[in-house]
Amino acid sequence: MIESLSALDLLLAGGLVAALGVVQFWHGLQLTRSLLMGSLRMVAQLLLIGYVLNALFATESLGWVLLMALMMLLLASYEVIARQKRRIAGWQGYSIGLLSMGATAASITAFALLFVVQPAPWFTPQYAIPLLGMILGNTMTGIGLALNHLTQMAASQRTAIEGRLLLGQTADQAMSGLKQDAVRAGLIPTLNMLAAAGVISLPGMMTGQILAGAPPLDAVRYQILIMLLITAATGFGGLLAVHFGARRLFDGRERLRLERLAPPKR
């Protein structure tokens, strides 16, 4: 009963984007090229991952699943740091991303597989990879926003922070307000997602499941599970990242070390 899509079906949808490109070209917008490249890239990436998943699902081997998970984790932590306006320079920046994301996304995915979803075997790739992917995607955004807030505020409020240090506050005391703000900034997309779920937007995963023929209530249950997992992962991930990030901004002498941030990028 699942309506499978043929290549022709997709070409029809592609026609819409092509039409958009033509209209933009007429209007002299310089966007046609990026639109074309973006669409082609998307198709290539998705096809590639489709084949990879196909192969992965066929093997059902823990080693391959872990390797895939590790690659996703590395890519995501690279993305977190690369997108920062003022990233923490050097390997420390990347390891803060990797550590906070690995510690939360990986352990929460494992938790969900072992105790909640309980497929047999627990690492069944049909469950493990999409779960990890969704959790990673969201923690990546949350941690990125939290770290971005932290480093930018630390740089712009240098004198206020140093003023507090001069009053005899410890680095922790001097940063406490800023750290709270950063954690909050990282959670905002998640909070918005929770508020909008089902009312303003139908979550993508649920929509996909329903389109693929699953009964709506089953799809809803999975969606609720995913959202709870995402909320926990972004929350804990943000806390960890802000904690490690703030520590990196100070040294053992309770001094603010802004030179540990890479120069601003636009």
Partner: protein, 222 residues
């Protein structure tokens, strides 16, 4: 009290903010730090409360080598140093009283003691009657005097000031300097960076003259 031994500070861009600077200010002395804009005065002052560290050489404050202290000693050191820095401003949405009380609240003193100390400090700078005003309502000169009261409320052993008269008229500037001299008179070690030579010359206070990060000369008081 403050001792620099061969201190250099090289910034990440390769520029030397300070180069091989040595001097000693004994306890209870008052000294001016002067030199053109960009000569390294602020760079030097930031090293004393360990907000920054030299790339080579040793800074000693109160007998401690600032490189060799335990982490928890740095906040304690900073509480013994009052600072009036160029770019450290008041919390403008707070009252004058709250601004001055800040350093004491950090140390967790009893509120009655805080009140007495804050009022005494504000009295010294002639602003006791404005204690309930919000800081934003004060003139630039008054704000600067609140800054000074805040630097002194903790009864520091050392007072550092960076261009404390930056935006004050000559009369107020003189008043601010007189206040520093008063604290010097009760035993506080005072180091003031300023390029207001006109004003400095009217005080019988030794001067360290910086030029491009190095000590050009030390002029004794006359």
């Amino acid at each position: 009290m403050i001792k620099f031994e061969g201190v250099s500070r090289r910034f990440t861009n390769g520029h030397f903010g300070l180069q091989n600077v040595s001097f000693h200010i004994p306890e209870g002395r008052m000294v001016f730090l002067t030199g053109h804009s960009g000569s390294g005065k602020s760079t030097l002052l930031r090293l004393i409360p360990a907000l920054d560290q030299p790339t080579s050489g040793t800074v000693r404050v109160g007998g401690h080598d600032l490189k060799r202290m335990r982490p928890h000693q740095y906040p304690k050191l900073r509480r013994q140093i009052g600072v009036v820095f160029q770019d450290h401003h008041l919390l403008l949405d707070q009252t004058v009283f709250n601004n001055v009380a800040l350093p004491l609240q950090v140390t967790g003193y009893d509120p009655a003691l805080i009140r007495r100390r804050v009022e005494a400090a504000l009295d010294k700078v002639g602003l006791l009657h404005r204690q309930r005003a919000r800081s934003i309502e004060l003139s630039g000169g008054e704000q600067q005097r609140v800054n000074i009261a805040r630097a002194l409320v903790n009864r520091p052993k050392i007072l550092l000031a960076d261009e404390p008269t930056g935006n004050l008229d000559p009369e107020l500037s003189r008043e601010v300097f007189n206040q520093f001299a008063d604290f010097h008179a009760i035993g506080v070690t005072v180091l003031i960076a300023s390029h207001d030579l006109h004003l400095l010359k009217t005080f019988a206070v030794p001067r360290i003259v910086l030029h491009e990060g190095q000590i050009a000369r030390i002029e004794e008081a006359y």
